[in-house]
């Protein structure tokens, strides 16, 4: 009868054991390998690195495995690891023009310098589930590449080594577009993970928050803009590119730049007609403006959402009236972090006995007061009636 008050220690121990057991599943099934996750669930790894805000494939893979494929939980594991790591400096700004692109598309121009590169995308696949088991001669999801040898696959045939000029730069040169991210490149900025978020936040901070924000939340927020909750015009995809970029760093003890690695990123520029705000550069009262998004790994859905939101929040900063959530930087930035959101929503599972007890006492005593008032009124009414009727 006293279980509610004692026994937490055993319960927690048993629960942890059950998690381990459920995660492993039946022993007859072989355990999934880290290399299998890294290579065959690559997009999941990308998402966990992006929202975990740590480009570490091994950590992301292990987190996915440890979280039974619950990606938000995996993000959480990566964040809790990342937060303990030492910061030793800032890299040189990455030159995405020199990206080794595996994919590069523009929705605004049919052809452009460097060309369109379709690369690996689900955009033009047919979403037909290829149900197993695999039978002789039948197609499965691997049949399209079965005859390819490993050699042909690497390096990726669609890799381009040519520098790819940006669509937005071209528009800018033609006097059609305001300056994009240029003034942010190389400028000193605060680190969102070391400083608390302050509202109003500068654009460099906003872009950091969006880069690690929850894909689902950002997607739906951007979607709401498109549905008229913040945008009154159709936006255009200036350019979306996915590929590998070199990370350069100058160690203070060396005093010259070295390459410390290569990361896969998705970069996006959205292009909008001006929404009609004031404060435009002279000659640009009519023209285009852009929104920018950059995400670790291949995640086009998110990079595009970030670009739309970046634009919307810039407009709000420039004086557009804030009427909808997608224009309100506090709404977007304070609610996009899924580690924060998941924790706070789910903390309702924790005991609240004490607070609920206080509420119970308060409600009961209010009810009692109310009840006795009611009784008194009834008594008074009966007395009044008795007097009237002369009883």
């Amino acid at each position: 009868m006293y279980v509610a008050v004692k026994g937490g220690q055993t319960a927690v121990r048993n629960s942890r054991r059950l998690v381990a057991r459920t995660r492993r599943g039946p022993r007859a099934v072989p355990e999934i390998g880290a290399d299998q996750i890294e290579n065959q669930l690559g997009l999941a790894v990308d998402r966990v690195m992006a929202e975990g805000a740590l480009y570490d494939r091994r950590a992301a893979v292990q987190a996915i495995k440890q979280a039974q494929g619950d990606l938000v939980e995996a993000v959480f594991l990566v964040r809790a690891f990342r937060t303990t790591l030492k910061r030793f400096g800032n890299s040189t700004p990455m030159d995405t023009e020199k990206m080794q692109a595996i994919r590069r598309v523009s929705g605004a121009f049919k052809d452009l310098p460097g060309g369109q590169i379709l690369g690996p995308t689900y955009d033009y696949t047919h979403r037909l589930i290829e149900f197993g088991p695999k039978t002789e001669g039948a197609a499965d999801e691997n049949s399209l590449c079965e005859n390819e040898t490993e050699k042909k696959e690497a390096p990726n045939p669609s890799f381009t080594m040519e520098p790819l000029p940006r669509v937005t730069d071209m528009l800018e040169q033609q006097g059609l577009m305001e300056k994009g991210t240029g003034d942010l490149i190389g400028a000193p900025t605060q680190d969102l993970t070391r400083q608390p978020l302050k509202i109003p936040a500068r654009r460099s901070i906003r872009l950091q928050a969006l880069a690690r924000g929850d894909e689902g939340f950002l997607l739906s927020s951007a979607y709401s803009l498109q549905r008229g909750f913040g945008l009154d015009r159709h936006p255009f995809l200036g350019e979306l590119r996915v590929g590998f970029v070199e990370v350069m760093f100058t160690p203070p003890e060396l005093k010259f730049e070295i390459k410390i690695g290569e990361i896969k990123i998705t970069e996006c520029y959205m292009v909008n007609r001006f929404n009609g705000e004031k404060n435009r550069a002279p000659g640009l009262e009519n023209g285009f403006e852009n929104g920018y998004g950059l995400v670790f790994g291949q995640n086009e859905r998110k990079a595009m959402s970030v670009s739309l939101l970046d634009r919307s929040l810039q407009n709000a900063e420039n004086g557009t009236a804030v009427k909808y959530p997608g224009q309100d930087q506090e709404f977007i930035l304070a609610h996009s972090d899924n580690v924060e959101a998941s924790g706070f929503v789910q903390h309702l599972k924790l005991p609240h006995y004490v607070d609920f007890q206080s509420e119970l006492l308060s409600v009961r005593s209010l009810q009692n007061t109310h009840l006795s008032k009611k009784l008194n009124t009834r008594k008074n009414n009966i007395q009044k009636n008795n007097i009237k009727t002369g009883k």
């Binding site: 809790a80 608390p196 924060e340 004490v354």
Partner: protein
């Protein structure tokens, strides 16, 4: 714990940053100091603010007590203790007087605190103005200008509607006659324990990334009106286990017939009172 995690999990740079925030918070009682809250391996809402405070304060000689809902053995308290056992290997206790640092969620122990002890509170919503003014820059201005009229209006509306102030927990307090602060979701029953307390009271909000403090021997006043003074909740019952008539009681539903029993929320206090009462009576308590 693998060796690439530091003592008490957080790296020393982060601990220093948090300690600086604590010092500022101590210097401006009740003022919410923003800090670079770190992600912790426990979820937001589970006490990340409190855990960060504890992590940056714990030394090898410290003795840690962790309670949740007043009890040492509720699941979240157990889990947090486990965490510090793994990462810091400090001594863990259930005894309130023995502890140097007490991390808590939703209660202040019944046993009075003493000078030198540190209470660490887990705080979900650090700003009592949050539900009056959800916009943070606005709320910050209201604090800066000591513009607390809206808070009193809210309390007044309670009185107009219900005949009394109905806030039962997380009852706002004014610290050192200046800042209005949230005592965290402790029952208002515990509010008076903050006034002129000899211990240090530190409040950590992990998700909202703010720290605030009530230094020792500080005036802490629960908001009220002259004609509607602050009131404490009371019970008709005494604790069914130890018989204490003065402690905060949790209600336990015994069956579906509406039978209930009341027991101390502070499990350690309950056990001690039971021991003392048993010694006095010379017979075990039948309840």
């Amino acid at each position: 714990m693998p060796s690439h995690y530091n003592f008490a999990y957080l790296d020393e740079q982060s601990k220093k940053m948090i300690r600086r925030a604590i010092l500022k918070a101590m210097a401006i009682p009740g003022f919410q100091v923003p800090f670079g809250g770190r992600e912790m391996p426990l979820p937001y809402g589970w006490g990340t603010g409190g855990i960060q405070l504890s992590a940056s304060l714990l030394g090898e000689a410290d003795i840690l007590k962790v309670i949740d809902q007043g009890s040492d053995d509720t699941v979240n308290a157990v889990s947090i203790k486990d965490f510090f056992k793994r990462t810091a290997a400090v001594e863990i206790t259930e005894s309130t007087p023995h502890a140097t640092l007490i991390q808590t969620r939703h209660r202040i122990p019944e046993t009075p605190l003493t000078a030198g002890q540190i209470m660490v509170y887990q705080v979900p919503i650090p700003d009592p103005l949050q539900f009056i003014e959800p916009k943070r820059p606005e709320a910050a201005k209201m604090h800066a200008f000591e513009e607390y009229g809206a808070m009193y209006v809210k309390l007044y509306e309670d009185i107009a509607r219900h005949g009394r102030i109905v806030t039962a927990f997380d009852y706002p307090v004014q610290v050192h006659h200046r800042y209005i602060a949230s005592p965290s979701p402790i029952p208002k029953f515990d509010n008076p324990k903050l006034h002129q307390s000899p211990a240090i009271h530190l409040f950590g909000a992990g998700r909202e990334k703010r720290i605030y403090a009530i230094p020792p021997y500080t005036d802490v006043v629960s908001l009220d009106f002259e004609d509607y003074p602050f009131e404490l909740e009371t019970w008709d019952e005494s604790c069914a286990i130890c018989g204490s008539p003065t402690s905060f009681l949790d209600e336990i539903i015994m069956d579906d017939q509406g039978n209930r029993m009341f027991v101390c929320s502070d499990s350690e206090y309950c056990q001690n009172t039971l021991k003392t009462n048993t010694l006095k009576k010379g017979a075990p308590c039948q309840k």
